[in-house]
């Protein structure tokens, strides 16, 4: 019920925010999809990937490459499935290698593989534009062309609703996944691998499935992000970018389903605020991260939940005293 209300409120966001704030909010929404996908792996399967920028880049570069080489197919209804497909392919290949490991080895391996993609995107200048990256024109949607419309108008009009619908769709699907038997199996693997294996869960295969689903969500986020940003570069696959994905998930709190969504939107504002007010934005982000890890290990959402629980308990205690 609350979710429906939130959705209705979100429908009116373009009227409430200035175009600048709206764009930021759209960045936030795309990262929220990324965070949802990432959290399936971190929060629900217990695997920390420091290389999810690779799938983000896969989605983003799918859009960029189609724009460059197949302009006639440059339609949103083709681009989104294509981005999903290519991020899935990449996730299957990388995931196959990664899920053979857990813990720190998994993290390093995911990181190294994303750097492999980075090296390829960076070095193959003729194909990918190298460090210049690729320009992203506005796509057409269901036969409607947006030629002659400027990007801000596109973003505050049609595209916001496309984004919102896809975001809502992602939330519903992810919620379905984590509460399905499959999702429960993942959580069993996270909590006790040996036990999960003994009750007949095929641990490695389930991890691979989770990895692929997660990669697809991140790829979708990446593809949607490109239209807001208008430009893609190889840096998306760099591990520092992957680190930012981990950061926003932790900022919101990975123990809670909604945590990454809140974290993604907060992070977008935090980063822009830090970048706008000081040239040492990495210092601000890094210091915030350290403080966060030390003081709020469950993220912002987690802190609210525990605060709420504490208040409730106190109220209950007062009630029984009377």
């Amino acid at each position: 019920m609350v979710y429906v209300l939130i959705f209705i409120v979100l429908l009116f966001v373009p009227r409430l925010l200035s175009i600048h704030d709206l764009m930021l909010f759209e960045y936030g929404l795309t990262f929220a999809i990324v965070g949802l996908g990432f959290n399936l792996l971190l929060g629900y399967t217990g695997l920390l990937s420091f290389g999810h920028g690779a799938y983000f880049a896969a989605g983003a570069y799918t859009v960029g490459m189609i724009a460059k080489y197949l302009p006639e197919a440059y339609r949103l209804e083709i681009l989104i499935p294509a981005a999903l497909l290519f991020s899935l392919i990449l996730a299957v290949i990388f995931g196959f290698l990664c899920v053979r490991h857990t813990k720190i080895f998994f993290s390093i391996l995911a990181l190294s593989l994303s750097m492999l993609l980075y090296a390829l995107l960076f070095k193959l200048y003729h194909l990918t534009g190298g460090s210049d990256g690729l320009r992203i024109p506005l796509p057409s949607l269901l036969g409607i062309s947006f030629k002659g419309i400027r990007r801000p108008e596109f973003l505050s009009g049609t595209y916001y609703y496309v984004l919102l619908v896809l975001f809502a769709f992602s939330c519903v699907i992810m919620k379905g996944i984590v509460s399905s038997p499959f999702g429960k199996a993942l959580q069993a693997i996270r909590d006790n691998e040996v036990r999960a294996e003994l009750i007949g869960i095929r641990v490695r295969r389930y991890r691979l499935y989770a990895f692929c689903i997660s990669g697809m969500f991140v790829g979708l986020g990446g593809a949607l992000w490109t239209f807001v940003n208008g430009h893609v570069t190889a840096d998306l696959s760099h591990w520092v970018f992957s680190g930012e994905i981990v950061y926003m998930t932790l900022l919101g709190g990975f123990g809670i389903f909604e945590g990454p969504i809140i974290g993604a939107i907060l992070f977008t504002y935090l980063k822009l605020y830090a970048m706008g007010n000081t040239q040492y934005w990495m210092f601000v982000i890094g210091a915030t991260l350290i403080v966060l890890v030390m003081l709020l290990p469950n993220g912002v959402a987690g802190a609210f939940v525990s605060l709420f629980a504490k208040l409730k308990r106190r109220k209950a205690a007062e009630g029984s005293a009377c």
Binding site: L42, L48, F50, L97, R100, H101, K103, I104, F105, S107, I108, L109, L111, S112, L113, M115, L116, A119, L120, K123, L124, W239, V240, G243, V246, Y247, L250, F254, Q279, Y280, W281, M282, F283, I285, G286, A287, T288, L289, I290, V293, M294, P297
Partner: protein, 288 residues
């Protein structure tokens, strides 16, 4: 030309060995993968370059080479402060938090370097130029590269002797084998961990300092060595000295011959080899 490629391979391997050795000691003893290791390397590089530039006109050559050690010292000090201030609180926390904390430290340190030394490049090629070239089997080769190999050899022997033969080293290995048992035997885990972290940081700083006479110190100089050191650790096996050596040699030679033969795909080739090794032997070549 293969003589030069081989020597280059050894040179790359030497620098990588120093970097990954530090990473490996910290990983082995404390169980923490230090993502900020590359920043410590960068701090070593900037400090050494800055020191060399300050004294190059007035100091005798001997002092110039000693001044490279300033990188080691400063990286060690920064490592000490890091361990004492926040890494310390992380031993009992899970992997996610440890990694994120060192990631935060990485972002922080990158900007601290920018605050102290600014955004410009520091050229300190004097130690490289002074040594000139030698003739090896009819090929002209810079003596400085041989100097780096010698220093690495000494550092490697030192760590090997230290870890294997001294009491302090044996205590460190005890912690890396079984932390709880080591605590039970009355080892002061806190101080030993600080020591291991400082040692690892210092080695990273030394690697950075040694590289600076050949390339200018730039912002982000520590990123590539960090990734390569990761590959070395993954390929060689966690916490293994022998693994770090073999991994460094493998990566060094792949780079050297890759650059010579297939410059376009030198880096991807490296990952490919690492990937193959991991499929065949998931725990790395010398992993436990």
């Amino acid at each position: 030309m293969w003589v030069v490629y081989t020597l280059n391979g050894l040179y790359f391997a030497a620098l990588l060995f120093l970097t990954s050795l530090g990473l490996n000691i910290i990983l082995g003893v404390m169980g923490i993968l230090n993502l900020a290791h590359g920043s410590l390397y960068a701090i070593g590089a900037f400090m050494a370059a800055w020191t060399v530039i300050q004294i190059v006109a007035k100091a005798p050559p001997f002092v110039l080479y000693l001044s490279l050690l300033s990188g080691l010292v400063l990286a060690g000090i920064v490592g000490f402060l890091m361990e004492k201030s926040f890494i310390r609180a992380m031993y009992k926390r899970t992997l996610e938090y440890q990694l994120l904390l060192t990631f935060g430290a990485l972002l922080l340190l990158e900007d601290v370097i920018k605050m102290i030394w600014g955004g410009q490049a520091y050229y300190a090629s004097a130690p490289f130029d002074l040594l000139g070239n030698v003739d090896i089997l009819g090929h002209v080769y810079p003596t400085y590269f041989l100097f780096v190999m010698l220093i690495t050899l000494l550092a490697g022997l030192f760590v090997w002797f230290f870890m294997g033969r001294t009491k302090l080293g044996i205590m460190l290995r005890a912690i890396s084998l079984d932390r709880e048992m080591a605590t039970g035997l009355g080892l002061d885990i806190g101080r030993l961990s600080t020591f291991a972290f400082v040692l690892g940081s210092g080695l990273a700083g030394l690697a950075g300092a040694l590289v600076v006479p050949t390339t200018p110190a730039l912002l982000g100089i520590g990123m590539e060595p960090l990734i390569l050191a990761f590959i070395v650790v993954v390929v060689g096996g966690l916490g293994s000295l022998k693994g770090a050596l073999v991994g460094a040699l493998l990566v060094g030679f792949t780079r050297s011959f890759g650059i010579a033969i297939l410059p376009e795909i030198e880096l991807p080739l490296l990952f490919l080899i690492a990937g193959i090794i991991l499929v065949v032997k998931p725990q790395g070549l010398f992993g436990r």
